[in-house]
Each structure stands twice: as C-alpha cells, then as structure tokens.
C-alpha cells in the first residue's frame, strides 16, 4: 500500500528506520536468550513484533521531543536513540547502566534523549507526558510529547484522565496506544470488548486514528500528522496501533497457553513488521545485510560488556534520595 512517507522518505531514512527496527529485534531476541539462560535478572517484557510502532512514532519526532514509555519499553528507548550498551547494562543491574543499575528494564530512562522512562505502573507514562507537554507549552518550546500506552493500560483511570487533561489544556501530546491484543493473558476482545480505544479519545474531544502497527509507513504517517498537529498548537491526538507481540507477556513467566494454536507462528510468518518494511521500502539484500551485521555485532558487544561490568557500589543504595535514617 502506497503511503505518504513511503514515497517521501529518502534512502538513508529508510535504512535508518530499518536499523532501528532491526536493533530492537536483535536486542529483544538476545535478551530472550539471555533470560532463558538464567543470567539476566528482573521483570523483562519484550517488544519484538511491535517494532514498527516505536520506530514509526519516534521517526516522526525530533530532538528535544519527549516520550513516556511503558513496562514494555526497550523498543521505545532504542527508537528514541538510547544507547543499547547502557540499556543492556541496566537490564543486568550494572554500574554504567542507563540508570546506574537502579532502575532495571521497567525503569529504563534517558532524559538527555527525551526518554522519560519505562514505567512499572500501567498507563503510568500518560500523566508524565502531559507534564512534559506542559513544560514545552509554558516554556514556549515546540517540543512534542508522546505517551505510549498498552491496550490493557488504556483501561486505567489515569489514562482517561490524561486524555481529558490534554484536551482541556490543549497540550502538545500524542497518545500512542499499542494494541497487541492482550493484557497479560487477558484478550482485548474481553477487556476492551473488542472496541478501539480511539473511539474514547474522540469522545474526550481529540482526533484519533487506528492503524496497522506492523506497517511502519502507516504508523509513521499517522504519527507525523498527530505530531505536526501538536507542534503547531493544534492540541492532542491519539494514534492506535495494532501489532501482536512475538513473546509472552514477561520472560520466564508465561507459557502463552492462552494464545490460539499456531498464533505466534502465524504472527511471525505473516505479520513481521521487518519483513513487510523491507518489501515496502524496497531495500536490497546488501542494504539489509550491512545493517544486520552491524546491529548484531553491537548487541553482542552490549551483552558482553554488560556481563563484564561491575555491580554498582553498595554506597549507591543511599544516593539519589535526599536523606537516610
């Protein structure tokens, strides 16, 4: 399907988009393996399968823009330009991690890159993004804020309240709902009654669209429109993206028995955003192979360095908090 950005993006931009998605994929597949081998601690939620959402949305952003992420945040962080070395160290809880090991997968943040953090609380990022949008608005800056929210988290009261606050204050914020069809083991057919979250946003008074979240170009176009609206003072919007996850809800936790027989295999075979992207963008095998080699090597280095990195000093226990008793 010919979309606007498919035609307008240059070769380098297309390759960059591929690089971002391919990095997320490699990162997540590797984290999956590392977790399975028992070396990686923590609550780790993988983003594989949804790469086109993070890449498409963050592709529509510029430096200085903010994103507030979810518990499933690696993809958002990578797409926003966070360093995968620091991220991997964070996942291992090591010194030199994005949060010096104190946050872990569920709290990865990089304020210099405008990544306000993954969040351990469902929809936790939505109010925060309203806040960074308020900063931009009050300080007279043109920065746009994006809040990523899962389909399940969209049922949280704080999310509905954020929709309301954003429209009332006309904040430069874009809500990106990632409908991956499940909240843990519960299906959207049940918890959203199969309805689009986009309809709620409209009821709160903001424009909303629903797109195929495995189609990079569709996501990017929808995001670009919403971002442009926000940047030019047109207020908030919502973009709902449908894309299944390839892994279970959380590593080491979930046998995915709730998914239909062959569902994941079908997703990987038919709904792989990377495959779709390469075809739609018309990338050559040598173009992708160059990226693949670099990305895989970078992930390899990230893992090796993370494993070798020291743990934080025990004195870190009582830093970054105002007082101890």
């Amino acid at each position: 399907m010919a979309t606007e950005s498919a035609g307008s993006l240059g070769r380098e931009e297309l390759i960059e988009a591929y690089r971002v998605m391919r990095t997320i994929r490699a990162f997540e597949e590797r984290v999956h393996t590392e977790f399975a081998s028992g070396e990686l601690p923590g609550a780790v939620h993988l983003y594989a399968g949804q790469e086109a959402v993070a890449a498409g949305v963050c592709g529509a952003l510029v430096e200085g823009d903010y994103i507030a992420s979810t518990h499933r945040g690696h993809g958002h962080a990578i797409a926003k330009g966070c360093d995968i070395g620091a991220m991997m160290r964070e996942l291992y809880g090591k010194a030199g991690g994005s949060c010096n090991g104190k946050g872990g997968s569920m709290h990865i943040a990089d304020f210099e890159r405008g990544m306000l953090g993954a969040n351990g609380v469902a929809a936790g990022g939505a109010p925060l993004a309203c806040g960074s949008a308020l900063s931009a608005k009050v300080l007279g800056k043109s920065h746009v804020s994006v809040a990523f929210v899962g389909d399940g988290a969209a049922n949280q009261g704080s999310f509905s309240e954020s929709l309301n606050l954003a429209t009332v204050w006309q904040l430069p914020v874009v809500f990106v709902v990632e409908d991956n069809f499940y909240a843990q083991a519960t299906g959207t057919r049940y918890h959203l009654r199969g309805l689009d979250v986009a309809r709620r946003a409209e009821a709160f008074g903001m424009p909303a669209v629903t797109v195929d979240g495995t189609d990079y170009f569709a996501v990017r176009d929808a995001a670009a429109t919403a971002v442009e609206r926000a940047r030019s003072g047109g207020g908030p919007s919502l973009v709902e993206c449908k894309a299944g996850r390839f892994f279970g809800h959380m590593e080491g936790f979930d046998q995915q028995g709730y998914r239909g027989a062959g569902e994941v295999d079908r997703l990987r075979a038919e709904q792989d955003c990377l495959v779709k992207f390469v075809t739609a963008a018309g990338l050559s095998t040598s173009e992708t192979a160059d990226v693949d080699v670099t990305v895989d090597a970078a992930v390899e280095v990230a893992v090796a360095e993370a494993k070798a990195a020291p743990s934080p000093e025990l004195t870190e226990l009582l830093t970054d908090v105002y007082v101890s008793y």
Partner: protein, 342 residues
C-alpha cells in the same frame, strides 16, 4: 497423627483457603487481573499463575477476570461487600494500591464508621509484597505500615503456609475489610505441613515462634525466618532470643510483645519496610510508652533504609534486613544494657 503429613507451599495453602471458603460460603467471590487468566483469548481459560489458579474450574460463576481497573474493581469489592458478597479482590503487587488508594483509604476502611455502623464491608484485598525478586522500586515495597495507619482496615502478613491458610480463612470470614500481604519470596520458598481441613487462625493474635529469655525479637513476614536464623546464631553464643511473629499488624497483639519484653527486658523489631512511621517504630514507640520500665536498654529497629528499592541485584540484596543485621542489633542492645547495668 500416624498419617503422612502433607506439605504445601505458601501459594498452595492460600489456594486451598480460597477454595475451602468458597465451598463453604456461596457469597465468597474472587476477582482480579488474570484471576482466571485467558478470558477473551483464542486459547482456553486458566492461565492464572497465582493462588487463584484453577478456582474457576470448581467455581465457574464466582471467579472473574478484571480489566486493569483497580479503582473500579476494588471499589466494586466495597460495594459488593456492603450488599451481600464476601469479595476477595487481587491487587497483584501491593504497590498498585497507589492507583486505587481512595477505595481502600476512604471507602473500604471508613464506610462502616461513616454510616454509623449500618453497613459492614467484609472484603479481602490480596497483595504481593517485598523485595528479592529483582522487580525494582515500583514492585517491591512493603507498605503495610501505611495500611496499619488506617483505622477501619485490618492488616495481615503471614510468614508461613499454615498461618497463611488459617489467616486467609479468618480474613474472608471477618466482617471488616482486610488487606492480606503475601510475600512474593514465600509463595514457593516457604513450604510447610498444612492441615487439610478448614481452620482459622484469629486475626490479631501473635505467635511466639521461639522462646528465649534474653531478648525479644519481633519480626514480620519473611523476616521471621531471618530472625529465627539470627536466633540460632545467637544461641551458639549463649544468647536466647524469643522470636514473635505478630501475623496480624492491625489489630496488633501488643500484649504478646509486652509479655515477652517484661521477661527479656530487651526489644529488637525487624521490619522489611522503610523506617519512618513504620511498624518497627510503632512497636518501639508503643513499648517505650507502655512498658518503659520493663526495658533495660535501648530498643533496636532493623529495617530497610529510607530509600526506594533498587533494581540491581547487588543493591537489592543489601536492602532488606537479614540474619546478620539482626544479630548485630541484638548484640548492640545487649551491650547497651550491660553497660547500663555496670
């Protein structure tokens, strides 16, 4: 007594309590996110992993999956409790109390009082707590001290499977709202002989889990095992610690603590929560108020530091109290009372 004794995990014991109470009383209902697991999916139901696993097979009309709407479903538990049900709602992590705190603080806990006793709120809110699973700052808190502060709410924190089962039965049968703290490291890590029949352990009754005359150690939840380990180390040096597991934090069995302190004259409180306005200072303060003259030396609190829970395993392992820190605290209170005596 000649039968082989049956060993259950803490998680299995809780599951058995839920099943037995549901069987005994048709007004008991159970709900929360993935309490069945898999509703609305292509696959079959039944992918809960926690204590509610499998209940829906036995009680298909009494177990519900909830959307991620804690404020609504915990509030619904209050409304249901006031109109004839005995709901057991599942918060998953106690940290998520943040998103439904009004329902706990202002609705569940206060309703009976606000309406002059003309309603009761027999509900249980289950919640996982504690450090040790590398879950980071938003999934590892203790928080029971905050709930203990709230009048109208009962707070339970069992340390082992047999207590877990009996206290859950009591919590469900109780006519006031109860928040039930399940330590995540105990689910699989704590196993014990659990009677098969239905039984209750009264709320508000502490247990002396080890007798001793030299120092009273009050420890909560997972810390009971650490306190017992500390007591073993101390015994090797001839110090006999009495270890008390309050089991219920509100109402609190102060008499059990006072009786012990009258015997030992020394108090150490072990509490995995942050220190300020904690159950540790609560017990210390109450003893200093009500049994001051029984004390021969300064009380000691052993708590986590005044910091959020760090993710890094190295840091997290250093965060909560442990047997070593408890031994140090006991030695310091012994040293202080010796120096006072001399």
């Amino acid at each position: 007594m000649t039968q082989p004794q049956r060993v259950l995990s803490y998680l299995e014991a809780l599951n058995e309590a839920l099943a037995q109470e549901m069987a005994a009383d048709p007004s008991v209902v159970v709900f929360g996110e993935d309490n069945i697991g898999g509703t609305g999916c292509d696959g079959t139901l039944g992918h809960a992993w926690g204590p509610t696993r499998g209940l829906h097979n036995q009680f298909p009309d009494k177990v519900f999956d909830a959307p991620i709407t804690e404020a609504a479903f915990v509030g619904a538990a209050v409304g249901a409790a006031a109109t004839g049900l005995r709901p057991v709602a599942d918060l998953l992590f106690v940290d998520f109390a943040g998103v439904c705190f009004d329902q706990i603080l202002n609705q569940a806990a206060k309703l009976r009082y606000m309406v002059g006793g003309k309603a009761k709120v027999p509900m249980v809110l289950r919640a996982m707590w504690g450090t040790g699973m590398r879950r980071g700052a938003q999934h590892s808190q203790a928080l029971y001290s905050m709930f203990t502060h709230i009048p109208g709410l009962k707070v339970v924190a069992p340390s082992n499977p047999v207590d877990a089962k009996g206290l859950m039965a009591s919590a469900i049968q109780d006519d006031d709202p109860v928040i039930f703290f399940e330590h995540k490291l105990l689910y699989f890590g704590s196993r014990g002989v659990v009677p098969e029949e239905r039984y209750t352990i009264p709320l508000g009754e502490a247990k002396v889990v080890r007798e001793g005359g030299d120092v009273t150690i009050v420890a909560i939840g997972r810390m009971v095992n650490e306190a017992l380990a500390a007591a073993e180390q101390l015994a090797a040096d001839g110090v006999e610690a009495e270890v008390i597991d309050p089991r219920t934090l509100s109402p609190f069995d102060f008499d059990a603590v006072y009786t012990s302190v009258e015997k030992t004259s020394r108090l150490v409180v072990v509490d995995e929560s942050n220190p300020r306005c904690s159950i540790a200072t609560d017990i210390a303060g109450n003893v200093a108020e009500n049994r001051f003259s029984a004390l021969s030396s300064a009380v000691r609190t052993v708590t986590s530091p005044h910091a959020p829970v760090p993710f890094s395993p190295a840091l997290e392992d250093a965060f909560p109290p442990n047997a070593g820190k408890i031994v140090d605290a006991v030695r310091s209170t012994l040293a202080a009372s010796l120096s006072k005596a001399s």
